[in-house]
Symmetry: C2
Subunit: 570 residues, 2 copies
């Protein structure tokens, strides 16, 4: 024990970034939030990349300088700027370098590379914090008339270059003022909110509804992406997100009954009936637009009885990936209801997970191996059920039954607790690794049960052909007809270009192996070049026709988003 | 008993209509299928309408003459007709009066009035039975080029004037050849079919999948509209239907993962992933088009494990409608899973139902009254659960618990058996009643829990203001956020015009009281004039923009459908 304490540990950053610095923009989450690689992960990284402690002694460009854009002054006449201040008030309009950078960037690795170097790709000319839907309507009309590009910034957690203002213009920040609750309707079990509200504010309101709204029950929103704490309702809908409990609650789009969307062609309001046969659902058309059709100002969401007391945790180890997949599919098709958190990790993710949590070499490890669950083959399934007590219990019972029938051994509910602990914190690891040139990034795709293995193997093949690159994969959003594959890859990259070329290759590999271009991160400008190839001309022409209708002057999030307005060769 | 046997019974028709007659077109269902009003219903009708047996001695115009269109020859040049025969073969193209009438009519009361009189409103010029998607593509291209109106006839069960060829032209019949199974995929639990396949063919295939497709399990399609036996997959999707087990399986649109739609703008194929974040879902846009955007040729549908053995029937009587509604809402929001069949009847429907089934005046009736369930106030809830054994049992347990907590008394599973017996047969009653000038018709709407009572009371008020008119109402499609209201009204009408004026008033009353224009019958040309008022300009403009994209020459089901191309004042 003594020896461990004195062994080298990199100087992971433990202080919040300087206000006004590049780092304060690209750092994930709360300024004072951190999660450092533990000793086991650190050791594994050194081993994988053949590095010594020396490589972790001096950080690469850490982005500590104050943000400056040098000569990139806003390309917007003063009178235009004044037209915006006339609408929203001086205090809600900014041309500061800092704001222009902050609200022009999402959370992709390439954006982080650029900010570390102090060379952001593109920035908006003007940042506006609208206070009301009425103001947003006036802004959209103004931009439409003057053909000014207009972007919407929710939480800024886009990982698809969804926020890059390729043609400059204005970015609206939704999370400053557009965060009000319009109505909580316990009879209908719905809440109507403005779309800039973030996860925790929404969930707290719902959990505390008996106090806040004098309701009979507490409620939950059911949508918990890993970015939950720093993303908005508008971003969830616009990028078609999926939360960690989606197998039970549904994807973001499933939660949205009605919306108001302000488009250059006018305001579109959809009605919040649970079901209607009055033609194609415009309400669905407004989901997934990623700011290219209009600005979502309000949404009426389903809410659910909050039943934390009925949760039942489970975890199992399977002999092989095939067994874990089979069990997961069988559970999803058994007509017994769905677990809420519901995940399986492939052999490499299981291996790294067990290693990181110190299971390797313990009696449990030996026991698993003895029982035929061999490292490098074995796979972890974990999750929990919820809902009404009998329902939750019965789902858990079925999970157990089906897992056992597929050769699994229970590992108790403990691993779920470990997972729950890290469920929103793992992204904090990224800056620590990046500080020493190690990249951790993710890509994800939707698959059908019958092509899961091809996509998994094909994409892994591509990633693992690169020397010294880790690739962990899990499925975490389960449907009776299929699931998603979430790839986490870790590697050393010399340059941003090297990284980008490799990463684009993964996207291509996903597409070629038959996965969707995105299961829940959206398309942004990153997957856009492959959209027509993936969706086919018939679908793309339809999306473009809608674009032309809603936004004839192409001012809404222009410059490539969703492949609507740029040449689309890969 | 003797007396009853000799008492007068109208000469209900018991023989199939003459082939070639008007009656053979408007009669519901199987030619030799009948369900006659029983003695109790007959007595009640006489009482309600103040009629004697005399009124039931000579039928009104019964439509027994052979169909003829007199001078209404097809308004289509021979060379155009030849172009269609060149595509589909002579045997698949018809200009006969009979076919032109048959495939130009749906099942609304006003169409039935017209056929009884031998005066159909509008008929297509040409009837075509395409054999392949390829042929359909060529037909659409031809009609697009020559601006020939083109209609799609699925099962012909439309109750919204969805099939009326207002501008003549061609009608394609899907159920003749376009009925093949393209793929059954047990891994993904999906079936891909051509869209002309009807309910029983599909369900039989699925129930017998272990034999037919060598699957491990039998399956079910989960969609059972009352018109199940005579409607097609294409019609289910196009008119956004909802089956009697929708509370568990979902509405028709929920079952559709992928589609092929042949439009004048080209073929649109959507991908059958269970979930994807690649922009707005074109797959959803293609649902509910009612033939105005294009022709659905193929659909990939979710299927479900068939678990009839786990069904648990339940029925309860509640003191009041309010109690029944409260219990239903509570069940739907309890996070315990949903029953499959799940219905509540309002006091008048409960009254008539109990009367019709001979409960009135029995010891059970007395007992119910004694227990406080008073006739005219009491309401019936019935249904059954299904799914995995423990799931089904637990849902039933919760139904019982919540029903009791809302003042209900169990009536055992027996009423469910009665209901099951009539579930597809009640429509056969219509011709018998119509034969003596009594009209039975239905209208339906979607509501939220918080406006259910207003819509129910408002619409009932309108209907009951008409003297001697029965109005039975139930909810049969239940969601956590609301339900539908299904109004059955029975009255004597002197003329078609009198009926139509009254019926349009109901639609208006639904809209004004805040219901949707349709929950599951679609819009057709009947609800179309109110579409813009109901949906608002923003939504209607969006639907029209899509129309313009898919069908720039307005050839697809033109003349009012969905309110896309006609003046829209009511
Ligand atoms: C560490 C990390 C973990 C993540 N984990 C998950 C996860 O588990 N599940 C998941 O689904 N996603 C995840 N994401 C991706 C991202 O958080 C989601 O796409 C999220 O839904 C975006 O919300 P946001 O408010 O941050 O939107 P932003 O990033 O601000 O915007 C995303 C896109 O939506 C548009 N947009 C935003 N608001 C509106 C609006 N009101 N009207 C119109 N358009 C709008 C933007 O213009 C942009 O195109 C993760 C991202 C990170 C960085
Ligand atoms: C007695 C009776 C009971 C009913 N009960 C129910 C019920 O319980 N639930 C319910 O949902 N509905 C019910 N309906 C309404 C009707 O059955 C549904 O709307 C059904 O979905 C229509 O299917 P169909 O094949 O008969 O379509 P059709 O009536 O032939 O057509 C309906 C509409 O869809 C279009 N269409 C049909 N096929 C295609 C295609 N392949 N591509 C594009 N467009 C197409 C037609 O052009 C038309 O506009 C009932 C009707 C009757 C008469």
């Amino acid at each position: 024990m003594k020896r461990k304490k004195t062994s080298f540990e990199p100087q992971w950053r433990t202080t919040p970034p300087e206000p006004g610095s590049w780092r304060s923009i690209f750092k994930w989450g709360a300024p004072d939030g951190f999660k450092h690689p533990n000793a086991k992960l650190y050791a594994m990284l050194k081993e994988t990349f053949g590095l010594s402690d020396d490589a972790f002694s001096a950080p690469v460009s850490a982005g500590d300088d104050p943000v400056t854009l040098g000569d990139k002054a806003p390309a917007m006449p003063l009178e235009t700027i004044e037209a915006f201040t006339a609408i929203c008030g001086e205090e809600n309009v900014s041309v500061s370098d800092y704001d222009r950078v902050k609200y022009s960037t999402g959370k992709t690795m390439e954006e982080i590379y650029a900010l570390r170097d102090g060379t952001p790709d593109k920035v908006a000319d003007l940042i506006v914090h609208p206070r009301t839907e009425e103001e947003i309507s006036r802004i959209v009309a103004l931009c439409h008339e003057k053909k000014i590009p207009l972007h919407v910034f929710g939480g800024g957690s886009s990982v698809t270059l969804g926020l890059t203002p390729n043609k400059g213009g204005v970015t609206l920040v939704m999370a400053t003022h557009m965060t009000r609750v319009v109505e909580f309707n316990e009879t209908n079990q719905t809440i109507t909110v403005e779309c800039g509200i973030m996860g925790p504010a929404l969930e707290d309101l719902l959990n505390n509804a008996p106090n806040t709204f004098n309701t009979r029950h507490p409620y939950t929103c059911g949508h918990f992406p890993q970015s939950f704490e720093f993303s908005t309702v508008g971003g969830w809908i616009a990028a078609k997100g999926s939360g960690q409990q989606s197998s039970y609650y549904g994807d973001a789009v499933d939660l949205v009954l009605g919306q108001t969307c302000v488009t250059p062609a006018g305001k579109v309001i959809t009605l919040d009936y649970p079901s209607t046969a009055t033609g194609p659902m415009v309400n669905d058309i407004l989901k997934g637009g990623e700011g290219t059709y209009g600005i979502l100002t309000r949404a009426t969401l389903k809410v659910f009885r909050h039943t934390p007391g009925t949760r039942k945790n489970f975890s199992f180890i399977f002999p092989t990936w095939q067994d874990a997949v089979n069990a997961t599919r069988e559970i999803s098709q058994a007509e017994c209801g769905m677990p809420s958190v519901f995940r399986i990790s492939d052999p490499e993710e299981t291996y790294i997970g067990l290693k990181q949590h110190g299971i390797e070499g313990t009696p449990l490890d030996t026991f698993m191996t003895f029982k035929g669950y061999k490292s490098g083959q074995r796979c972890l399934l974990l999750g929990h059920t919820e809902g009404e007590k009998g329902f939750s219990k019965n789902v858990c019972k079925n999970v157990r039954r089906i897992a056992k029938a597929n050769g699994a051994m229970s590992l108790t509910g403990y691993p779920v607790k470990l997972w729950q602990h890290g469920r929103f914190n793992d992204p904090y690891l990224r800056e620590d690794l990046n500080d020493y040139g190690v990249v951790i990034d993710t890509l994800e795709t939707g698959v059908k049960w019958d092509n899961l293995h091809q996509v998994h193997m094909g994409v892994r093949k591509y990633i693992k052909e690169r020397p010294d690159t880790l690739c962990m994969t899990h499925c975490s959003h389960i449907y009776p007809q299929g699931t998603n594959l979430y790839f986490i890859f870790i590697g050393k990259f010399e340059t941003r270009d090297e990284f980008v070329a490799f990463q684009r290759g993964i996207i291509q590999s996903i597409e070629e192996n038959g996965g969707t271009l995105s299961h829940h991160h959206g398309v942004g400008r990153m997957m856009a070049p492959l959209m027509e190839k993936h969706l086919g001309k018939g679908q793309m022409d339809t999306l473009k026709a809608l674009k032309k209708h809603f936004d004839p002057n192409n001012i809404m999030n222009p410059g490539g988003t969703l492949g609507l307005d740029e040449p689309t060769e890969p």
